[in-house]
């Protein structure tokens, strides 16, 4: 049974770049962060010969800046990008789609709504797990970095964060807790993407590499159905 599909250019190059920089940054930040939180390796020999924790903290910082810059760039691309890079949560359709998609994922509805870009539920999850938690991570992270240089620019910009948590200990504890959100997100994200690609055969996975998704042509589908009905 051949289904006619049309090729749609969904993810523009900057979006794909953002996605992969984000993926690499989050992975590196999570792993280095977990090491900083609970250092499992012990360096051999004398302290003068090693700078392992120092390096891990250094790279955590480098990727934190890359991550932040990347997020700022994505913010710009909401404005500059195509239709699929936008997020309109204030529209009624958005929330209707959230409900419809939720029903689909809980097997209450047999088919999902057809969205070329993201469905609304996915967008909502990105808002929570990528945007809100990243905002939290960026602010708490820079606040902790700033503490090393009490008269530096980071301390001036982010020093107020620590005051709001009444002390740096809670800042670090919550920074560590929220980090797990990314692991949870990654697991769910991978599952959803693979599932979508398998069930709809629409090239979801490869679309984040080449930008194209393969949507079923409605007209073609209708023709086919009619043909079948006629045969009967």
């Amino acid at each position: 049974m051949g289904i006619l599909r049309r090729q749609v250019y969904v993810w523009q190059f900057p979006i794909r770049l953002f996605h992969w920089v984000n993926a690499v940054a989050i992975t590196v930040l999570f792993l280095t962060g977990m090491y900083i939180g609970y250092p499992i390796f012990v360096s051999p020999g004398e302290a003068v010969q090693n700078f392992f924790m120092g390096n891990v903290r250094y790279w955590h910082g480098v990727f934190a800046y890359a991550f932040t810059t990347n997020m700022l760039f994505r913010l710009y691309w909401y404005w500059a990008g195509n239709e699929y890079s936008k997020f309109r949560f204030w529209k009624k359709d958005f929330w209707q789609d959230v409900v419809a998609t939720f029903k689909y994922y809980t097997f209450l509805a047999p088919e999902h709504t057809v969205k070329v870009g993201h469905n609304a539920l996915a967008q909502l999850m990105y808002l929570i797990f990528i945007w809100i938690s990243s905002l939290f991570m960026i602010f708490t992270g820079f606040a902790m970095r700033g503490g090393s240089n009490p008269n530096g620019i980071l301390q001036t910009l982010f020093g107020w964060v620590v005051v709001n948590f009444r002390g740096e200990y809670q800042v670090r504890n919550l920074h560590h807790l929220v980090a797990w959100g990314y692991a949870i997100f990654l697991l769910s994200h991978l599952y959803m993407v693979i599932r979508q690609d398998l069930l709809d055969d629409d090239g979801t996975i490869s679309s984040m590499v080449n930008g194209y998704k393969f949507m079923i042509c409605k007209d073609a589908l209708e023709e086919e159905t009619q043909e079948r009905l006629l045969k009967k």
């Binding site: 302290a47 003068v48 010969q49 503490g147 009490p150 560590h176 797990w180 769910s188 009967k232």
Partner: protein, 366 residues
């Protein structure tokens, strides 16, 4: 002693040479971390200013701050209370008791309105009208308000006064609150620690004496000269942290080597204090140097950030009783189970749909 006598005059009258006086000024300047150009200002201040009247209140506390203060080496506590300030009221040190003691306090408050310095050790208590701590028939909170009204500035000395410390830990039965919550109309300087380093409080007092104003404060309201750096950033064991060499238990080989105490709960990385620089007991040592992890006693709610000997405290403030890793990994595990269940469910549902479609197809053929 005449009331207008300056510190310098007093020192000369007591037989201190000018050379020793200048040495003292230089030493104090160094203790405060001041530039050498500030040195003449200290000399000038001590030469011209009358001794500062100080009232020291002991509220809901354990007197460990007083004990620490008495061990001040730079300046010596005797120097401070006999030569630098006029300590008019302090229960643990004064000879007078009862009515006489209270009279002295009232006399100072009456004679130097808006000019005396108030140092408070211990927290105010609001529970049940403040009955949990009363002095001379007054609740400690009332007493604090009364004395603070006429003070030039208030120094909240010790963690009880800055964050309610032990008695303010969950569930805080006496509703202990920091001084800042009660004294709203005067500048409050927080000098946290359980207890704070003696030199930190005497240094703060001398700063106030010298400049006649409160020192520059951090964003948490503490003197920047002492509380701007992390213990961690000046720690003697910092090299082991950066190298990645950590003590696992108190009796392992790493502990003997003097490795970093991070993994056995050291709170140095989130604690702002002068321990690693000034050290304790005239610069002898400080907890981490002596082999014990920092418990973060100068940080707010430190008694709720327990257990002390693990890296991560239970979240939030022991309400759940699990630490960040346990919670995070637990939710991740649940997500993994949910994903597997959902995938299984999808397979079943889709298979069912397919079978139905095929059977429909067959029916249609027939």
């Amino acid at each position: 002693m005449s009331e207008s006598e300056s510190y310098y005059q007093l020192a000369r009258r007591r037989g201190v040479t000018r050379r020793d006086f200048l040495k003292f000024c230089a030493l104090t300047g160094a203790m405060l971390g001041l530039d050498a150009t500030e040195f003449p200002k200290i000399v000038q201040a001590l030469e011209s200013k009358p001794r500062l009247p100080v009232i020291y209140l002991n509220l809901q506390e354990c007197t460990c701050c007083t004990e620490s203060l008495l061990r001040s080496a730079h300046p010596l506590i005797s120097d401070l209370i006999f030569n630098m300030i006029s300590l008019d009221y302090m229960e643990p040190l004064q000879a007078a008791a009862g009515k006489q003691a209270e009279e002295v306090r009232l006399k100072t408050m009456k004679e130097y309105p808006g000019a005396y310095l108030l140092i408070v050790e211990g927290s105010a208590t609001l529970g049940d009208g403040g009955v949990y701590c009363t002095i001379g028939g007054k609740s400690s909170t009332e007493l604090l308000k009364e004395v603070a009204d006429g003070a030039a500035a208030v120094i909240a000395y010790g963690s009880c006064a800055t964050n309610a410390c032990v008695q303010g830990a969950y569930p805080n039965p006496t509703q202990a609150v920091p001084i800042r919550k009660v004294v709203k109309n005067k500048p409050v300087i927080d000098v946290p620690g359980c207890p704070p380093i003696a030199e930190v409080i005497t240094g703060t007092i001398v700063h106030y004496l010298t400049y006649g104003k409160i020192p520059e404060l951090t964003n948490l309201g503490r003197p920047k000269a002492f509380y701007q750096h992390r213990v961690h950033d000046n720690c003697v064991r910092r090299a082991f942290f950066d190298a990645g060499q950590f003590v696992e238990t108190f009796d392992d080989a790493g502990a003997k080597q003097g490795w970093c105490l991070y993994k056995i709960g050291c709170k140095g990385p989130t604690t702002y204090n002068a321990c690693a620089i000034t050290e304790w007991n005239d610069g002898v040592s400080y907890p981490i140097k002596s082999g014990h992890p920092c418990i973060g006693c100068s940080e707010n709610n430190y008694f709720d950030n327990t257990p002390f000997y693990t890296r991560l405290a239970s979240i939030p403030n022991n309400a759940i009783g699990k630490d960040a890793d346990t919670i995070g990994a637990g939710i991740l595990g649940l997500t993994g189970i949910a994903v597997a269940a959902h995938a299984g469910m999808t397979a079943v549902v889709k298979n069912h749909e397919k079978n139905r479609k095929e059977s429909n197809h067959d029916k249609n053929r027939n």
